[in-house]
């Protein structure tokens, strides 16, 4: 699971998807944050549907391969399924139908649908906007937005060494396979995995000592320089207005329903 791919997949770009690809990373992060916060507080079907539609529209416009993104979205739905299925039966309210004597309520079903739409709309927006950035660019964007440099440094180091340590993990797994280790549901498997993890931590610690020496040798003073040129373009202002309009529309739909009712 490499976070930094040496050969990113080639993507056919239309004029619109080129415009999406050039979106300022800072705008991507901010737009996603505001979108997520607003969506998590909405309760009106019209507003929720608009948010989900906007996420799908952006996915289509971005020209990103949609299969892997939708597969990740479906994986998340699998995780929350059991909670959503329970909700109609545990929320008191207008009875809707009953299974084996347990009544489902309209309010509960509605709460489950609300969570389902919110979670999917936000995950889609996340995977399309900041999710298509290089992890290093995401780190730099966060730093430019005022996230403490130390935290950004930690993120950049983590991103850098995930790939390295994944390689180390795969080598050790190969060595275990060569000795006829197979994963089973038993104590031997768990203890072997524990030794594997322990060895990874020992090697990681020793590697970090070498990394520190090498960095000190090059004059490391506690912060990585942010080498990028994030420039706000006129197109970004237009996008920002677009996102602003979407957010306002979401809030207006919610407010119209709440105060109209």
């Amino acid at each position: 699971m490499a976070l930094v791919s040496a050969n990113p997949p080639e993507i056919r770009l239309s004029a619109l998807s080129t415009a999406c690809a050039r979106l300022d990373p800072r705008l991507r992060v901010c737009a996603t944050l505001v979108f997520a916060i607003v969506m998590s507080q909405l309760d009106v079907l019209g507003a929720l549907a608009l948010g989900l539609a906007a996420s799908f529209a952006l996915l289509a416009a971005s020209g990103q391969p949609w299969r892997p993104i939708l597969r990740r979205m479906a994986a998340m739905d699998g995780f929350i399924l059991f909670m959503l299925v329970l909700l109609p039966f545990t929320t008191p309210g207008t009875p809707l139908f009953s299974i084996w004597g347990y009544g489902a309520s309209l309010e509960g079903l509605w709460a489950a649908v609300d969570i389902l739409i919110t979670a999917n709309a936000v995950v889609l927006m996340v995977l399309v906007l900041p999710g298509t950035l290089e992890p290093v660019t995401l780190g730099h964007a966060l730093a430019r937005l005022g996230v403490p440099l130390q935290l950004v440094n930690l993120l950049l180091f983590t991103v850098r060494y995930i790939t390295v340590l994944e390689g180390e993990y795969q080598r050790m797994r190969q060595a275990m396979r060569a000795r006829a280790f197979a994963m089973r549901t038993n104590l031997h498997t768990l203890i072997s995995l524990g030794y594997l993890v322990g060895m990874m931590l020992v090697r990681a610690q020793e590697r970090s000592e070498r990394v520190l020496q090498a960095m000190k040798c090059r004059g490391f003073k506690g912060a990585l320089p942010l080498i990028d040129a994030m420039r706000w373009r006129a197109a970004d202002t237009i996008w920002a207005f677009g996102f602003g309009a979407l957010i306002l529309a979401l809030i207006a739909l919610e407010a119209a329903h709440v105060f109209g009712a």
Binding site: T32, F89, A119, G131, L151, L154, R160, E166, L212
Partner: protein
Amino acid sequence: MHIVDGALSAPVLVAGAALTVGGITLGLRQMTLERIPAAGVLSASFFVASLIHVAVGPSSVHLILNGLAGLVLGWTAFPALFVALVLQAVFFGFGGITVLGVNTFNIAMPAVLLGLALRSLIANAAPTMAAVWGALGGGGAIALTTLFVAASLVFSGEAFVPAAKLVFFAHIPVMVIEAAVSAAAILLIKRVKPELFTGAPATAFA
């Protein structure tokens, strides 16, 4: 155990975010210049370890190892686990954005608590006894995390009570797995490189 966007109420989200900001601040204060590479490389190794899947009958679960992270990293486990959750949310779509604060607190706070409680015991114990403390740390951290997750759900709505109970009982196998893996990992570390648990967390530059 990732809670998604839309499930929790606003007060729970705000409380989780505030507590996580506090935890990260404390963690970053411990992360001096000398410790940045160690924290980064160890944070990456915990990220890779969380990709390991263990079969449980027909299904499988992935390792979390937050107890082990707390033992090795101390308060730095807070920013390290936050970074891992951000990367998972943004690039893999696990979890959510508004729930980042709550999710980080639920995973990192048990890690830090058990780390504080057991680190010196493990540093001074013989390898086998250290492994016993390690099992307690690994299993205990998951037990606490499931309780925190259940509490976040219940504080958001009474309707979540059965789901919260289910979360706890469904994670009992995970507690056993994490206890065994953490114990074995600590047994090995105590034999190979016991310095990892002496001195301030995540340093050992002696």
